[in-house]
Amino acid sequence: MAANGQSFYELYRRSSIGMALTDTLDDLISERRIEPQLAMKILANFDRSITEVLADKVKARLTFKGHLDTYRFCDEVWTFLIKDVTFKMENSSQTVQAEKVRIVSCNSKRPGDPQ
């Protein structure tokens, strides 16, 4: 996908920032301002960018506890559905609770990827 050879997970396209980008690109395509191929390139850029920025700039840590409802491991992707979760941020007493949260998680060590 990416022209620079190395490819990145498309996982983060489902995040709010990814959805916002996809929507915007969709609009531009339907207005015939850009070609779908260009949109694909931009999305590939996004995949790379968000992976790098998350890895380099973010330092925050958190812990979470809950009850595992469903788990699945397929194609090197873990999917968990956790119920009654409590997220605890480090460095602050703030906790966030949720009835359920879905975790979609790709392998941090990609096969054939020297990380």
Binding site: Y12, R14, I17, A20, L25, S30, A60, R102
Partner: protein, 445 residues
């Protein structure tokens, strides 16, 4: 893990993507304006999701693409109240009056006045991005005012950021995230409401531009979309598919190419009829193949009518099978739609009792069977899809849902106890978004 960091992280991602896409835009021969528009659209969409405070939220970033609003506003302020301090005094009075303990308003005037007005003006015209002045103008009072603003405007929700403001003075270089909003009005005399208005104006403008840029064809598409939105989701999906098929019957070549590209790229999110717009005049948007083979040109109104009649017909035919239930309830049901009932429905359709529109669209009798088969398939696959994707869609029902996207370092299980180490993640929960570098999870099954 922090919510405050999200704004700056996302801003960086956006800037990064825009920069790295510039080359691709040039290669594709697309104008830079589009790139800029992409960025603005992206930002405003992101703001619309309301998952965090973004740096561009309080003061829309670049004066470049939206000069009409910012400078004109600025001009107003300066012409009405010539010395900038006046505004500051006024807004300070308004905001501070209920808090006599502060007693600042009289003193506010001289404070910024110390800075020469010329210094203030450029700061404002650059969208207030030159924040370092503010701490200079009086660190503690500014903080207090910021906190009060936050409290007044956001109440309890702002408690965290107020704490942050009061406990530590933000480094001047820090990109203004949560603190950005209150600092700005306190110092520059712009109330948050005004900023909101500015922001909205700009969004409206952008929207208006987009709309004028659209061709009438796409207007009809919008009508079509809003019309469809009122209908039940499943019927919508099906109608779109039907519409797409209709379109392809006539405009095969173009649709096949463009439409598929769109589909591949965006999971079918691309609106179905966007292609094939240009070659047809506005009057006849689509051509329909009559039952006896002649072509009937259809305008927007007719298409709308056709779609409506189809949806209504589908709705009627579905009622028996319980398909008009809300999607969530429907999915709870097992995949018990017997093929018998489907067959009955399609037989009805063939007899023309329900699906009047469908039969017409399929053209002459000669290939009727083939087309009919095709339609039947479409219906079946649509019926089955929600069930197949049961788990996936269950969460997407809740819009942004609660989802953590990350990478795993380690996933361990001992009996029913799980321990996971995640990294580089984005967590959306309770309508707020958080980013984290590392996360440890423990949960039992």
């Amino acid at each position: 893990m922090s919510n405050t960091q999200v704004g700056s992280v996302y801003q960086q991602i956006i800037a990064d993507v825009v920069e790295s896409s510039r080359v691709d835009f040039e290669e594709g021969g697309v104008d830079d304006n589009v790139l800029e528009e992409l960025r603005l659209g992206w930002q405003s969409k992101l703001s619309g999701l309301n998952v965090a405070q973004f740096p561009w939220d309080p003061k829309p970033e670049p004066p470049m693409t939206n000069p009409p609003t910012v400078p004109s506003n600025a001009g107003n302020y300066h012409s009405i109240n010539t010395p900038p301090q006046n505004i500051q005094g006024q807004s300070g009075m308004q905001q501070m009056q209920p808090m006599p303990s502060n007693g600042n308003p009289p003193r506010i005037k001289p404070e910024p006045g110390m800075d020469s007005p010329p210094m203030n003006q450029p700061a404002y015209q650059h969208g207030g991005l030159t924040m370092p002045q503010m701490p200079m103008a009086g660190g503690t009072t500014a903080q207090q005012r910021a906190a009060q603003h936050l409290q007044a405007n956001y109440g309890q929700r702002a408690a965290a950021s107020i704490n942050a403001i009061q406990s530590s003075q933000p480094p001047p270089q820090q990109p203004p995230t949560q603190q950005g909003a209150p600092f700005h009005p306190a110092g520059q005399g712009l109330t948050p409401q005004m900023q909101m208005q500015m922001h909205q104006q700009q969004q409206q403008q952008a929207r208006a531009q987009q709309q004028t840029a659209q061709q009438p064809q796409q207007m009809s598409e919008q009508q079509y979309k809003s019309f469809m939105a009122a209908q039940q989701a499943q019927a919508q999906a099906r109608a779109q598919q039907a519409a797409r098929q209709n379109g392809q019957n006539v405009q095969n070549a173009q649709n096949a190419q463009n439409g598929q590209n769109g589909q591949n790229g965006f999971n079918g999110a691309a609106p179905p009829q966007t292609d094939g717009a240009d070659d047809v005049e506005t009057e006849a948007v689509i051509k329909q193949l009559g039952s006896n083979g002649e072509e009937i040109s259809m305008g927007r109104v007719e298409i709308d009518g056709l779609i409506r009649s189809k949806i209504e017909a589908m709705g009627q035919s579905m009622e028996g099978g319980g398909l008009m239930l809300p999607l969530s309830e429907l999915k709870k049901k097992s995949k018990s739609q017997s093929s018998q009932s489907k067959r009955t429905r399609t037989r009805k359709a063939k007899e023309g009792t329900v699906f009047e529109g469908m039969i017409q669209v399929d053209g002459g009798d000669s290939d009727d069977d083939v087309k009919e088969e095709h339609d039947e398939d479409a219906i079946n696959s649509d019926l089955d899809d929600p069930d197949d994707g049961l788990n996936d869609e269950e969460d997407e029902d809740e819009g942004m849902g609660h989802i953590m996207l990350c990478m795993y370092d380690k996933v361990q299980r001992v009996k029913n106890k799980w321990k996971c180490v995640m990294k580089d993640g984005v967590l959306t929960v309770n309508g707020k978004e958080y980013v984290f570098h590392k996360a440890q999870g423990e949960y039992e099954w």
